[in-house]
Each structure stands twice: as structure tokens, then as C-alpha cells.
Amino acid sequence: MKRTLTVAVLIAISVGAPRAHSQDSSESAQIKALIQEVNDLKARIAVLEAKQAGTQSSVVSAQASVKTNDDPPAPPQTASGTETTSFGFLRGIKLQGFGSLGYKASDIKVPENSFFGFRPGSMGNFAIGDVDLFVTSALTSKATVLSEIVFTETDSQKFETDIERLLVKYDFNDYFKTSFGRFHTATSYYNSVFHHGRWLQTAVDRPLVVEFADDGGLLPTQEIGVSVTGRIPSGKLGLNYVAQYGSADTIRPQINRPGAIEIDENNGNGVTVGLFAKPDWLPGLDIGGSFYHDRLSPDNQPIHIDQSIGSTHVVYTTPRFEFLNEAFIIQHRVEGGGQTFNTPAFYSLISQKFGRKWRPYVRYQYANASTQSPLFGDVGLRHGPSAGVRFDYNDYLALKIQYNRTLRRQLATINDLALQLAFRF
């Protein structure tokens, strides 16, 4: 009996000893388990509260709970309809800058007009290009001001200042957003999405057809007026609309005649309407088109011209992949039984990011204007490929190198090489 007791004590000691060693760890494990349990309970309480709130506001939630997405907005719940959000977190001015430094070399024999600080006839020179100051500020939770002030280098290293965009925006909801002021027209996808900051676009330059009008582009890229946009209740199709009415004043330099008088189109008020889809089933896909119409009274020409521009785009972009395709038909109909000139144009750009920094790209562009056109006689037929690589040093600095080959009707082909250091700050 004594022996048995001794053995029992020994067993108890033996078992107790490791337990004493593991007591701390088991206690801490228990504490952790209890903390976890408390956290789980907290989550459960929050969920129950959510459910309770749901039942209390059953009328509201029945209308708005599961829908939330593509149905038209419900009327405001507040009696006065005024904004009741405290919004204290969101006030303030935000300033962002974009800039670029460039070098361009070309084998062109007969000089063409050059822009962004590049000199006509130069075989190669450096230029600053655009310096872009972009300012946004919230006025209320629904109203914001946006302005884009650009300093552009001329070919004599002087700088011109332009207010490229100045908008007061008021977003009623996702279905009705308004803007008043100077904006980039919705005549093309590129013009709506990419603005003056070169850092934002993959390529060194914009395709000719969507280049800004004061740099030789073919579209009325800017207007002062009103713009309305928003979603259309369309389920997973993700339809959106845009409508703009405003005054453009397009002044185009003649791209193949350096020093020649610029063509002031003296636009009447223009109307743009557009429709595009961003389907839910493929985020990044954007398909749509727009139509623009205005009446031109070009300087030094005793004619009036009806200008109509139709455009369509198919775009697929993800953070790593970009496929832009856009086609245009620009029609100029001389009033009083005059001729009609149709200028077709398109561009296509594809790029893929490899790793974290490298993004090679290829672009092809085409524009074909009649040499008899009262407005685009300087353009003629121009088409050709561009190929380049963009290297993102970090989130603020990108180096691009691009080769362009431009074939022209009855004129020598141009080969040029462009380097660009684009940055934001």
C-alpha cells in the first residue's frame, strides 16, 4: 500500500511537473482563446445590430438594401432635401503637378511645324513641353472645383500660360453629374480620359487625330459650357451617357507649314452626345461612341461649314494591360451647296506591363484628309506605326523612348525618335 502510494505520488509529481511548465503557455492560450471568443461575440453583436437596424428600417431597407446598384436613386430621405453629411473629413485643396522633359530627333528634310518646345527643322533638340498644375477642391460633399493650368513651351523657349480646364462640378448622384466651365470635349475617349499630363499616358505623345487642336489636332478638343454625364440604369451592361453644350474656339496651326497663319475655325456653339458601356462582366472594357456637331466660319474664307464628328471606341484597360482603339469620321459640309469633305481617322495602341517597371507598346495611327479640304488641307494622308517602351522608375517618374514612322501622301516618310522623362509631383 505504501509503495502504491509512493508510486501514485511520483506519478502525480511527474504529471504535475510538465503541466506546471506548460501552465503558463496553456493559460496564455486560454486567454487568447477567450479574447478570440470576445472578438467573435463583438462581431456577432455588430451583425445582430445590423440585422436589428434592418428590421427597424424595414421600409427603407426593403427599397434600398439589396438593390444599391443599378436602379435609379431613391428620393432623398431628409425632409428638406439638403445635404446632411458632416463632411468635415473631406475639405481642402489638393494640388498635383505633371511635367516632362523631352528630346526628339528626326530625319525630316523639309521642316514641319513642331510643338511642345521642339523647333521646326531641327534634327534634334531638347524641350520642356508642358508643365501642368492640377488643382481640385471640395466645396461641399457634392460640389467640387477642378482646374488645370498649363505652361507650354514655344519653339523659342518662351512659355504660354493656359487655363486648360476650369470646372465647377456638382454631382447629384451617379445618374446625374453636372460640370460648368472649360472642359475637354467628349468627342473622343482619349480626350476625355487623358489630358495634359504626359505621365498619365503610355506613349510619348497623343495620336494626331486626338492631339490638342492648338498642337495640330483635328478635333475641337475644348469648350466652355455645360457637361452632363451619368449612368443609365441598365443592369450589368453598365451604360453611361454624356451630353455637352458649349462654345469651342478651335485655332489650328498648319502642321506642314511652319510659320503659316493658324486656321481659326470660329466655331459656333457645339453639341456633343455620347453613349458608352462599361459592363460588369469584364471590368476595364469600355465600348461606346459620340457625335458632335457645330457650325464653323473660318477666318479669311467666305464660307460657313457644318462640322459633324462621329467617333467610336473599343477600349480594354487593366492595371497591366492597355488596348485602345478609336475611329473617327470628321465631316465638313460647305453650306450653300458646296462640297462635302470626309476625313476618316483612327488609332490603335496596345501595351503590356512586364514586371513592375517595363511597359512596351505599339501604336498605329491613320488620318486621311483631302488636300482640297478648307480646314485639313495641311494634314493630307498620314499614317504609320510607333513603337516604344515606358520604364516606370517609381510611382512618380517614367522614362519613355519611342520610334515613330510617318508615311505621307506624295511626301517623304518621316522617321523620328523621341525620349521623354515624364513625372508627377
Partner: protein
């Protein structure tokens, strides 16, 4: 020695049981950070009860900017390195940090959005923001949820249910 054989066996069995117990308690370790579920919270006055992952992507990508009745959506996110930020980037937006930054620069510059989501340093600040802003929405680890906010169902599930997508 033979006399003690029985006791030695008992002692051995007891040791084995003790070892098993100790092992069992050790195995029940605290949940890994990757297993912590992340809830979607809004202001309690917001009538929204449920969202799909596609809705969340649209909201946090700035494509959907208004709730309708409660007004504009105010986005709050955690700063880089937080668990909620990882879930936002990996599960919802499928972007890395750099792509997220670029996405918002483009969005604001094109005029499609007026401001980037406000990045907050702690979940406590997120809770305060959600309570203060009627249209606010944020992601928060479930253990940090407190009263005064509403948890929204994602794909019909609340945190804790099997198949909940944000973890």
C-alpha cells in the same frame, strides 16, 4: 523492479496523456493574421444592407460614387501595411499598391472622381469616420468592430459565416 513495472506503465501512460494534453492546447493557437475576417461597415443610417463583391469593387474603384438616398459615398481605407488594405487590394480591387495609387491619380485627373479615399492610420479612426459621415464605408477587421457602425452583408454573408469572401 518487477514490482514497479505496473506503476512504471501507469506513469508512462500518464506522461503520454500529459504530453497529448499539452500538445492539444498548443495546437489551438491564435488565428493567423491571414485568417482574420474583414467586415464592410457603413454608417448606421445608411439603408444599404448587402453588397456584392462587384459592387464593392465599383465603390472602392470610384466607379460608383453615390448611395442614392444617403448621398455621396465617402471612402475610408487603411494605410499601406494594414490587413484591411491587403484585403482591399488583393480581394476586391486586384491591384498592387502602386497600381492603386496610379488608378486614383488617373481617376481624379480625368475628373471622374473628386478625391482619393482617405487613408486612416487606425481602425479606431475608421470607426470615428464611419460614425461621423453618413455616406461613409470602410473595411475593418472583425475584432475591431464596435457599436455605432453597421456591418454590411457581402455576397449574402456576414463575417463568421462559411464562404464569407473577405478574409
Amino acid at each position: 523492479m518487477r514490482k514497479y513495472r505496473k506503476h512504471l506503465v501507469c506513469y508512462g501512460v500518464a506522461l503520454l496523456l500529459a504530453a497529448c494534453y499539452a500538445f492539444a492546447t498548443q495546437v489551438k493557437e491564435k488565428p493567423k493574421d491571414e485568417d482574420v475576417e474583414v467586415a464592410v461597415i457603413v454608417n448606421p443610417t445608411n439603408p444599404v444592407e448587402a453588397l456584392s463583391l462587384a459592387d464593392l469593387r465599383k465603390i472602392f474603384a470610384g466607379e460608383k460614387q453615390s448611395w442614392g438616398a444617403p448621398g455621396p459615398i465617402a471612402l475610408f481605407v487603411r494605410g499601406p501595411g494594414a490587413r484591411e488594405r491587403e484585403v482591399l487590394l488583393n480581394r476586391i480591387l486586384k491591384m498592387n499598391e502602386s497600381e492603386y495609387q496610379q488608378h486614383w491619380v488617373r481617376k481624379i485627373y480625368s475628373g471622374e472622381a473628386s478625391r482619393q479615399p482617405l487613408a486612416l492610420l487606425s481602425n479606431g479612426m475608421q470607426l470615428e469616420a464611419i460614425r461621423a459621415e453618413k455616406g461613409a464605408i470602410a473595411l475593418i477587421s472583425v475584432q475591431d468592430i464596435h457599436q455605432g457602425v453597421k456591418v454590411v452583408k457581402i455576397e449574402g454573408r456576414v463575417p463568421g459565416m462559411s464562404g464569407y469572401p473577405l478574409k
